[in-house]
Symmetry: C2
Subunit: 500 residues, 2 copies
């Protein structure tokens, strides 16, 4: 086990990398990938040795090029392979001789188009040499800290107008690991995560997963200090029993969110022609995920929304939620969605209602405010009303988490309330998520500021409710397994470290 | 009936407006609203007469101020009332004498806080004089063409850093009417619609709806040439029978999408304390909406997504959808969601499969492309492949609409394909919707360009599928009622007019 994890380590922290199929030709994947490494090496991010391998080149971007892997004079830990499928088995034979630890095979043309024999040949050779293989038919790895970037999709594109725009951005470092069976979904996810300012610890696209599969990566990420939450896009699971065993081990320490496609019969058929996945009954997947504490997202948006909530906030200890709003209608929409999801929005205890009455008596909040849950401070809200109300709600032992609807449109609300809310929330070990509706400047600013301060912000009331539901589901799972407190302690330790 | 519609006309096209409660005090609603009118008059947008009414002022923003409504020397069609609730009945008495046609009562403090008597007094007086009343406790009307803007929420806010940012923007003119019981949801909707570049024909916030209600406005919008689709946020319906009658009349001509909150017991309780709405059983609403052809959105995002699809594309003639993608995983996700929604993604006819085979034989699309539906052109897609495939799919009589997944990340895909797709789609009377995933420059550019060219673009595969589902549901409704062809003819006529 230990040794296996060590081998996977070579995908993320290799001392030396050979890029097989590196080329000078600018629009080839072999160029983009080699250039990623050489640029990262220049900038001192990638600190290992770098070797381009291509029999038809002498020098690529200033690096001496080798005719074959065998000709490289030094040890090689990781190879990245971007040559036509038929050449790959021979390269793997060389890799065995060179005692390579890990191989990322970007090339397609294997099982996904029916060339099962070719893929099996690669696997057999790798096994012989103890080489771990990622792919084939994948995008490989992105890990910003060590400069591993095997993404061959151009970071920018030039429009016909001559303007250069960001096309496949790399996200900032963070605590979310993104692993994916679909490369296209993977780059789309990177684009989404970057735009929403969600930081990524490791990105792994594993394609046909002839060797390294979802279970291996999940297991590796359990010990990865930078990863707090794993997001996984899956079309099938290679070994159900193994997955269950490992997922159970992981989820009591770190949340795992999956989107599993091929739910429908037609979807499963489409998945089969995509990655050769044989999906099996969707109900079995549902049961397996539930049993192993894996949170299954219903759709793409929920997938990212859940990940963000779990990366930023603690889980809840129960299912009763307090709702705090300056907008009546959106408040009602939030209550509706909470109830639809099995959360409750119970009337506050008399003690809390009494405290709210005192706030009214002292003219701290308006007499017309509704305070029995949801708390509707109305459009006449000012900053302090929000902060004081949140504090009261956190104090109520029946309130397990707060959904804040801070619609910025209200004239008396200034953006300084954001810091006030964050400060109050820090005193409690209960989650808070927020929603502001709108797609222009102030809405984007408000959500982005909350996000940066660790309160996940969502663009619709229902999204916020679903995020809270994920925190409640995960909390209930941890409690059932007797490891809620341990999890809370572990994330507290982490955040203390972060702030040092 | 005719006369009633005529009266409602005064809310949108008044020859003269008096603003009761206009003031110089910059942070008062009475200032913001009066200034909206005076600015729009200066700019030649509001062409009517404008009178500020306030006993304590002589002149407001250069306009002579009158001590009371009775003192205004000329006729007044519309009054906008922004004074404390208790003064409103007396103002209405004056309005009767002045033969005012319509009143927008912005003021709150009526039924929603228990002052039912006061509200009834207003209604009784209005009825006596035949005055139609919008509100109270509402935001009123925004109609860009005539410069009617009773929104008192500041268009911009100044951050503590001294920067001024857009806070409550006004959307561009367009063919979507937005009507809302919740003012806060209304401004949030304006913010959303502006940011997503969805144009608005009329905006109406009707609050407590003591007189003019959802049915009245729906009826008015049926005859409004600028409105193609109506989006309605509702917490209750005033008169169920009347609503059914009018909705049935409207929906065979123009789609109506509602979001009806207060679904859950706790939600209904919250709604009651918000607008005094008595929500009733949610199942009854469901049945009423279905019976009258009103499309009910499940959540805020679907609400806007459906509206966009219906505003831009024709409904489908059936439920079988063709999916065209350059990204396998997202293609599978789309199939899943279509099937979950009751749409089908059937294998193409032999004739269509044969035509795709010919494209392969001619090397127009790749041999490895999957072409049986979904069509997966793979990451090696180039512009023409998308355009030629869409054309083939539109030709298939079994394909009732196309969902295009054009993930911009693929290296060979250039943005010019967008125009190619739009051109092909123009030859068919079948809907097309698209999805590109990502939140950075190229994704935003792609979606925005498709939107501008009339192909509704969505940020997730499931959103695109839900939009198509709305087109299928509406199409089926029109067919059941024998008015599909008539609807198609009416939208074709409209778009011919638009392009002139």
């Amino acid at each position: 086990m230990e040794e296996q994890l060590q081998k996977l380590h070579a995908f993320f922290n290799p001392q030396s990398v050979a890029v097989i199929g590196a080329t000078k030709k600018v629009d080839k994947a072999g160029h983009v990938i080699f250039k990623n490494f050489s640029t990262n090496k220049e900038h001192g991010v990638f600190k290992g040795e770098l070797y381009p391998v291509n029999p038809s080149e002498d020098l690529i971007l200033g690096h001496k090029c080798y005719a074959s892997l065998s000709k490289v004079p030094n040890e090689i830990e990781l190879i990245v392979v971007i040559v036509p499928a038929k050449f790959v088995p021979a390269i793997m034979e060389e890799a065995v001789i060179k005692k390579v630890k890990a191989a990322i095979i970007i090339s397609s043309g294997f099982k996904e188009v029916g060339n099962t024999d070719l893929e099996e040949q690669v696997v057999a050779t790798a096994k012989k040499g103890g080489i771990r293989v990622l792919g084939p038919n994948c995008l490989g790895v992105y890990y910003s800290k060590t400069g591993i970037d095997t993404l061959f999709l151009p970071e920018t594109k030039v429009l016909t107008t001559g303007e250069e725009v960001v096309a496949t951005p790399r996200p900032m470092p963070g605590n979310i690991a993104m692993i994916t069976q679909s490369g296209a979904f993977g780059v789309a996810a990177l684009d989404y995560l970057t735009g929403r300012q969600m930081g990524v610890s490791k990105f792994v696209s594993f394609g046909n997963k002839c060797d390294v599969n979802e279970s291996d990566i999940l297991h590796y990420l359990l010990y990865d200090k930078e990863t707090k939450v794993t997001l996984a896009y899956l079309e099938d699971i290679t070994d159900g029993r193994e997955f269950l065993k490992i997922a159970k081990k992981v989820t009591i320490k770190k949340p795992v969110v999956v989107i599993k496609s091929g739910r429908s019969a037609a979807g499963a058929r489409a998945a089969a022609s995509h990655t050769g996945a044989i999906a099996g009954s969707d109900k079995i997947y549902d049961a397996a995920f539930e049993q192993s504490g894996v949170l299954r997202a219903r759709d793409m948006e929920e997938f990212f929304d859940m990940g963000k909530a779990l990366a930023m906030q603690p889980p809840t200890t129960g299912k009763n939620i307090g709702i705090l709003t300056d907008a009546g209608g959106p408040g009602v929409m939030t209550v509706d969605e909470c109830e639809a999801l099995g959360l409750t929005v119970d009337r506050f205890s008399d003690a809390t209602l009494q405290k709210f009455q005192e706030l009214k008596d002292q003219n701290i909040i308006l007499k017309i405010a509704a305070t029995s849950n949801p708390v509707d401070l109305t459009g006449s809200v000012i900053d302090d009303m929000f902060v004081m109300s949140a504090d009261l709600m956190f104090q109520d032992p029946q309130v397990c988490g707060i959904i804040l609807l801070g619609l910025h449109h209200m004239p008396g609300l200034r953006e300084v309330y954001i810091d006030g809310i964050v400060k109050v929330a820090e005193n409690y070990c209960k989650p808070i998520v927020m929603c502001d509706i709108g797609e222009t400047e102030m809405a984007l600013y408000t959500r982005s500021r909350f996000d940066r301060l660790g309160v996940p912000a969502y663009p619709s009331p229902e999204d916020a409710a679903r995020a809270m539901k994920a925190l409640a589901t995960y909390g209930a799972y941890l409690k059932r397994n007797g490891c809620f407190d341990e999890y809370i302690a572990s994330i507290k330790k982490k955040s203390t470290k972060d702030s040092k």
